[in-house]
């Protein structure tokens, strides 16, 4: 194979065809509230960990729906479960519980 000094570049396009419906339904069975996030960002705005390390429940939920669970886990890695997000969520989501469930469901291979 010839080396031209450059090559194909991976695509960053979100491909919703890769969305893992089974796993998501498994999560939604435990956490129906995952469905009602409006992506308003209140959780991220008040996130304690987020001030130091990229951490965002909003982005985590987004990432799951965009077939990128690795990113979802990354976004929750540094969460301290302090619960400030649950105080500000306009849809009253039990965010701490949701965070734990996301980690549980998507950590197992």
């Amino acid at each position: 194979m010839v080396d031209f000094g450059f090559g194909l570049v991976p695509s960053s396009r979100i491909n919703l065809d890769l969305f893992d419906k089974e796993k998501y339904e498994e999560l939604a069975a435990m956490e129906p509230d995952v469905r009602i996030c409006m992506a308003c960002g209140s959780c991220t705005a008040v996130c304690t960990a987020g001030k130091f390390v990229p951490t965002s429940l909003r982005e985590a939920i987004e990432a799951i729906k965009n077939a990128n669970s690795e990113k979802a886990l990354q976004m929750l890695e540094s969460c301290q479960l302090c619960g400030k997000c649950s105080m500000v969520c306009p849809r009253g989501i039990n965010t701490r519980h949701l965070i734990l469930s996301i980690t549980k469901v998507y950590s197992k291979k």
């Binding site: 979100i14 919703l16 065809d17 992506a39 982005e59 965009n66």
Partner: protein, 351 residues
């Protein structure tokens, strides 16, 4: 004396106003350019937010308007202003001497073909909100056979200067959410996506509809305008947008794409405007006398406006507008119109 009132347009606004004015004892003549009364309502299956059957609502409107003189397949040939009244010649040969005229000419749905990049009329699996309502009504559309993945595109012919439609059509967001729920009810296994820029769910119970769509039906809402649609080898659709929340380009393969065609001024507006000597604004809708304070009065004394003739409205708004117009007409015909001597003066002061 029993004044003649001509109402132009047999949709919800025209029907509601006819009923009200007839109840007040006026002699109402209703003309409708198409063969059937009811306007778009007659073509719709169910209505947001609570999904009542459109037929029920229309049935009520028709019953209330019983006794009103109706001419369908009828348009205006000519209007001339007498001292106070209007002498109106209809295309069916009849001439009406009318003391007040109500314009309830309604709206047209945006012609989705003009949004070329979405391929309506080119790609088999692309349809409009109206097509989907027709499917819900009749249960048959060759585009729909057990779709697994369905998309809804908000703002088609709305908030789009490229297709000459700057303004919001008001009803599409709620319609999309309603239809998303209904298609999910029809095909529970399907994945449903709504592509929106803003969810303009301003009305009472609309937000509940949104919550229900998320919670009970797992509809996925993606904040990004669909940029391009194309057809795959197997006939499915390739749809591209940006997930602006994730700030990344996105693609998804769909079996069916539903375009939320927005509200456009009725094609009849231009001709009517010339007949009646009434201005349309830049957006193509009739302008009202003096903004919000006289929402149903046109610049021409004795000519009134109701419903989508003055811009996109929901059905409840249209009906309320029609009732308000009836009140305005009543006031005009009782306070201003009869006083032959001071008519011009009164119009100047109170119109």
């Amino acid at each position: 004396m029993k004044n003649n009132i001509l109402i132009i347009g047999g949709g919800p606004a025209g029907l509601e106003a006819s009923a009200q004015l007839q109840r007040m004892g006026y002699n109402v003549i209703l003309i409708e350019r198409s063969a059937k009364l009811g306007g778009h309502l007659a073509k719709w299956d169910r209505l947001f937010p609570d999904r009542v059957p459109a037929d029920e609502v229309l049935g009520g409107l028709l019953r209330a308007a019983e006794g009103v003189k109706c001419f369908t397949d009828t348009d205006i040939r000519a209007i001339n202003r007498l001292e106070k009244s209007y002498n109106v010649r209809l295309t069916n040969g009849i001439t009406v001497l009318s003391d007040a005229v109500l314009v309830a000419s309604g709206f047209d749905l945006f012609n989705a073909v003009r949004k070329e990049e979405y391929g309506y009329g080119i790609y088999n699996q692309v349809m409009t909100n109206a097509d989907l309502e027709a499917y819900f009504k009749t249960g048959n559309d060759k585009r729909i056979e057990n779709p697994k993945k369905i998309g809804f595109v908000h703002c088609v012919g709305s908030r789009d200067e490229k297709s000459g439609c700057r303004s919001c059509s008001k009803v599409c967001c709620a319609t999309a959410v309603k239809q998303a729920i209904e298609i999910k009810q029809a095909f529970p296994q399907a994945e449903v996506f709504c592509f929106y820029m803003d969810l303009r769910l301003f009305g009472r119970h609309y937000e509940d509809l949104y919550l229900e769509a998320q919670k009970e039906y797992g509809v996925r809402f993606i904040r990004g305008r669909v940029a391009e649609v194309s057809e795959n080898y197997d006939g499915t659709l390739l749809v591209k947008a940006e997930d602006t929340v994730a700030s990344k380009p996105l693609k998804v393969t769909l079996d069916l794409l539903v375009l939320m065609s927005g509200m456009r001024p009725s094609a009849s507006v231009k001709e009517l405007g010339e007949h009646l000597g009434m201005m349309v604004e830049e957006d193509g809708y009739f302008s009202v006398r003096s903004g919000i304070s006289a929402g149903q009065r046109s610049p021409q004394p004795g000519i009134f406006l109701a419903g989508a003739a003055t811009g996109p409205k929901t059905l409840p708004e249209t009906l309320a507008d029609a009732r308000a117009a009836a009140m305005e007409i009543e006031r005009y015909l009782t306070e201003i119109f009869p006083d032959a001597r001071n008519y011009k003066q009164l119009v100047k002061e109170r119109w």
